[in-house]
């Protein structure tokens, strides 16, 4: 097992450097530099442009800029935003809890509903419910997030008035950020009704962000369950006279969960990618919106290090999933 972990850890190093190189190169491949973008249609005096580029350290050759960047990372310094002059790390810490809160809510929605729908569809294979779940999940998987979000806002928020249109909490409340998680901060604030209001604000964004993972999890659970339910040990369990619930949940679902858990891990990346659009639609102040605006402004330090931090997170989650998977399945950890 230790050599398995060491092999996986060894893979992390080139992955990390690959990500730094990619983010460094990609943002610089987009035409326009931060000074040009900052000035827009206004005149940019070439001398002023050169001075600004020098101040920002962007006049050096690319390899020197990359080496500076790696040196900075080695010192644990993620640099400052070119736009706001705030440290990238502090901006990330300010915004990341909002994204995590949204992603966890979406995962909870997708996981719980997806598992139930998948299990029931597998048990009622070929029924109207099964076809319905598969059809809806296919539609959910193909749904453009932006359109879906606006549709839900128009129906539930504007039409029925059940949910707020956007934001994390009603602006009546002035909640000081303590943890950055609005649900927790609203509780800590002690303001009456703030927690429920924050919860209401989470409903639609979580549904929108969770729609694609929900579809994936439901389909994966159904197919894994169908496979497991055909296994000999399930037939044996039934033959032993165990209750149907025990057969399904203890002998069936527990074994079917292994591939589903892998999908859960992979969905973390998908959720962070989906958060970019969901955060824009719902004016949710998370890292997705932050990165999009930073790309527009060619804010190199934010783009490079923001993506790096997210990539590290995804790598870490996948590493943990790999280890857990190895723990659960000996065949995996002995593969060379």
């Amino acid at each position: 097992m230790l050599s398995f972990i060491a092999r996986r850890l060894g893979l992390l190093i080139p992955t990390f450097f690959g990500v730094t190189l990619l983010t460094f190169a990609l943002i610089r491949m987009i035409p326009g530099d931060p000074v040009e973008v900052m000035m827009g249609e206004r005149r940019v005096d070439p001398i002023m442009h050169a001075e600004a580029m020098e101040r920002l350290g962007l006049n050096k050759p690319l390899y020197a800029q990359y080496l500076d960047y790696i040196g900075q990372l080695a010192r644990g310094d993620l640099g400052e935003s070119l736009r706001t002059r705030e440290s990238v790390w502090s901006e990330f810490l300010t915004l990341f809890p909002a994204t995590v809160e949204l992603a966890l809510a979406a995962l909870l929605f997708a996981g719980s509903l997806g598992l139930i729908a998948g299990v029931v569809a597998a048990l009622k294979r070929g029924s109207l419910f099964d076809h319905g779940v598969m059809g809806i999940s296919l539609a959910g998987y193909s749904m453009p997030i932006f359109w879906w979000g606006l549709l839900l806002i128009m129906f539930f928020s504007v039409g029925l008035g059940w949910t707020p249109v956007s934001g994390r909490i009603d602006l009546l409340y002035d909640i000081e950020p303590v943890t950055g998680f609005m649900l927790i901060d609203s509780l800590l604030s002690g303001e009456e009704g703030a927690f429920l209001d924050a919860l209401r604000h989470l409903i639609l964004p979580a549904i929108v962000l969770g729609t694609i993972p929900l579809a994936v999890i439901a389909r994966m659970t159904r197919s894994a369950m169908l496979e497991v339910l055909r296994e000999d040990y399930v037939r044996t369990a039934r033959a032993k006279g165990l209750s149907p619930a025990r057969v399904v949940f203890v002998h069936g679902l527990r074994n079917a969960l292994i591939p589903v858990l892998t999908v859960f891990g992979l969905q973390v990346g998908a959720l962070l990618a989906g958060a970019v659009l969901t955060e824009t639609i719902f004016s949710w102040p998370g890292i997705g919106k932050w990165l999009i605006e930073s790309i527009g402004a060619r804010d190199y330090p934010v783009v490079q290090n923001g993506i790096l931090l997210i990539a590290c997170l995804v790598i870490l989650v996948n590493f943990v999933v790999d280890i857990l998977y190895g723990l659960a399945n000996p065949r995996i950890r002995h593969q060379k």
């Binding site: 987009i30 035409p31 326009g32 530099d33 040009e36 973008v37 900052m38 000035m39 827009g40 249609e41 206004r42 005149r43 940019v44 005096d45 070439p46 002023m48 001075e51 600004a52 101040r55 920002l56 070119l82 736009r83 706001t84 002059r85 705030e86 300010t94 915004l95 606006l150 128009m154 928020s157 504007v158 059940w162 949910t163 707020p164 249109v165 956007s166 934001g167 009603d170 602006l171 009546l172 409340y173 002035d174 950020p177 303001e191 009456e192 009704g193 703030a194 429920l196 209001d197 919860l199 209401r200 639609i281 719902f282 004016s283 102040p285 919106k289 932050w290 605006e293 402004a297 060619r298």
Partner: protein
């Protein structure tokens, strides 16, 4: 869902709102759905209108200001001023008793005086000033306006008297001082920050003299201000102003309809009819200081031939373009580089008609009866001056094909487009310009002067000696009527020489709920909410 469950679910979902206590009296609170996050709060480092709305229009004030909804100048922190006969010296008498904001992070020990004015400008002008190098971004607005090349020196004549001495006469100088980059900061606050090694705080926790006091910024979510009870012009009616940052225009509209905010900035032109039809809402519209145009590169043959440029103007169906781009009533056709609402416009000036026969005739006279090939440059994403660049370029392409000109459309990302256009690589380029200070010079010199042709901002690369002399002379004259006469002559040359295809002056819109009173749109595109009140 069963009928029995439905009321329960509704109760659960709506319960929280009912339970929410009214923390502030709704009438004293204004929520504005704004379009983007401010880049920071040290306005002199930034150029975006959103940043100016959250700083220059709330926290800070300048020596002079623009009258609400107009380009007329009014006294602000300076209660009066004198201009010397040679136009080189401006003496400002500062208002007495102006208090800086008292906040959790700064307690002022004195009122506004000449030191604050000197600090605010010297910081941008003097490379030796301790705060000059602290701005890594530089001072883009002041640099773009070439302020350092204009101001010779600033003298403190007394506690409440300062004099600006210019290197050459510059009629728009007063109007320039009403712009965001000329905001007056507290020198005392800056001194404290520098002494404490907290210079970065100036960009995070601003202190000014304005009608609204900065409270808190939750990044990418909201900016909160409270009314300044000590403001020299009296406390504003608003107890709280909140910018709810909502980048998606459709969501801003839905939030307005749902009552989450009382004003939604920058609705899309296509949504205007729907918003107007809603009885709970009002739509404000104003001819803004915007111009959309196609720059014709006069350095690229055969576009150096005035007959060819006139033929392009005659071939393009501007009315169809405006209908398709801005919708009914969304813009007025442009015939000049600045809108007819600005002084110095010539009402007798009419645009080129849509006349294909005459366009073909002019092309034939220029020796291009069989047409020629050129490239139309545009950008991928839309903006206020060019909402749908793709459609616009295709319409131009089709109209040019009608007179035998074979045009290829090339789409460049905005930054790259500007860069290449400045290098003069284009033939035709879709561009726009937003006026900053309500002075015709603000449109003409940056876009059509010979100096701008050299530096590349004049995308037509057009340098006409007589036109250039007229606008240079007008820039130096103090008398507005004399200046206007010179501008009218310059506009006639512009029309005849056709270095642009002037397209449109888009209108500016804002949507608000009916209980909002006192909000007026500014032709400069800024949004000031300090005089707004809510009356049910």
């Amino acid at each position: 869902m069963s009928n029995a469950l439905r009321p329960f679910l509704r109760l659960l979902l709506c319960g929280a709102l009912a339970a929410a206590s009214q923390v502030y009296a709704a009438g004293a609170r204004l929520v504005v759905c704004s379009e983007a996050s401010p880049e920071g709060f040290d306005i002199v480092q930034y150029t975006a209108a959103t940043t100016a709305d959250a700083t220059a229009e709330t926290v800070f004030e300048r020596l002079v200001g623009f009258a609400p909804g107009s380009t007329a100048l009014i006294p602000a922190l300076a209660e009066r001023w004198q201009v010397s006969a040679d136009g080189l010296s401006y003496t400002f008498h500062l208002r007495q008793g102006v208090k800086f904001h008292r906040t959790a992070w700064f307690t002022p020990s004195r009122e506004l005086n000449a030191d604050d004015v000197l600090w605010s400008f010297q910081r941008q002008l003097d490379p030796q000033h301790p705060w000059h190098q602290l701005s890594v971004r530089g001072f883009p607005y002041a640099e773009a306006m070439a302020i350092a090349q204009l101001i010779e020196r600033i003298d403190k004549l007394g506690e409440h008297r300062v004099r600006f001495v210019l290197k050459h006469p510059e009629a728009p100088f007063l109007a320039n001082l009403a712009m965001g980059f000329a905001s007056i900061y507290s020198a005392e606050y800056a001194g404290q920050l520098l002494a404490q090694g907290k210079s970065e705080q100036l960009n995070r926790l601003p202190v000014g003299t304005g009608p609204l006091v900065f409270e808190r910024y939750a990044k990418d979510a909201q900016v909160r201000f409270r009314g300044n009870p000590e403001h020299w012009a009296g406390a504003p009616a608003l107890e709280r102003l909140i910018f709810a940052i909502t980048p998606e225009p459709n969501v801003r509209q839905q939030r307005l309809k749902a009552g989450d905010c009382q004003i939604a900035l920058y609705p899309r032109p296509v949504d205007i009819p729907t918003l107007k039809a809603d009885p709970a809402l009002r739509v404000l519209e104003l001819d803004s200081l915007l111009v959309a145009y196609i720059g014709i590169n006069t350095r690229h043959p055969p576009l150096d031939d005035v007959r060819v440029r006139q033929a392009l103007n005659l071939a393009f169906d501007k009315s169809a373009y405006i209908r398709a781009q801005y919708g009914p009533g969304g813009a007025s056709p442009a015939v000049a580089p600045y809108p007819p609402t600005l002084w110095g416009h010539d009402p007798a000036l009419s645009g080129w008609p849509h006349d294909l026969a005459r366009a073909r005739q002019l092309l034939a006279e220029a020796g291009h009866a069989d047409g020629f090939e050129l490239a139309i440059w545009t950008r991928p994403g839309g903006g206020p001056t060019n909402p749908n660049p793709g459609i616009g370029a295709q319409m131009l392409q089709a109209d040019l094909a009608a007179i035998g000109i074979r045009a290829e459309i090339r789409v460049f990302e905005w930054g790259e487009l500007i860069k290449r256009a400045k290098n003069g690589e284009h033939d035709l380029v879709f561009m726009g310009w937003a006026g900053d200070n309500g002075d015709p010079d603000n449109f003409l010199t940056p876009n059509l002067s010979c100096a701008a042709a050299q530096s590349g901002e004049n995308q037509a690369g057009w340098c006409h000696a007589e036109f250039d002399a007229l606008i240079a002379r007008a820039r130096q004259l103090p008398d507005q009527a004399q200046r206007a006469a010179l501008y009218r002559r310059a506009l006639a040359i512009f029309h005849e020489q056709a270095p642009w295809i002037p397209l449109a002056h888009p209108k500016q819109f804002s949507a608000l709920r009916r209980d909002v009173q006192g909000f007026v749109l500014s032709p400069m595109g800024s949004n000031n909410f300090s005089r707004v009140r809510r009356e049910p």
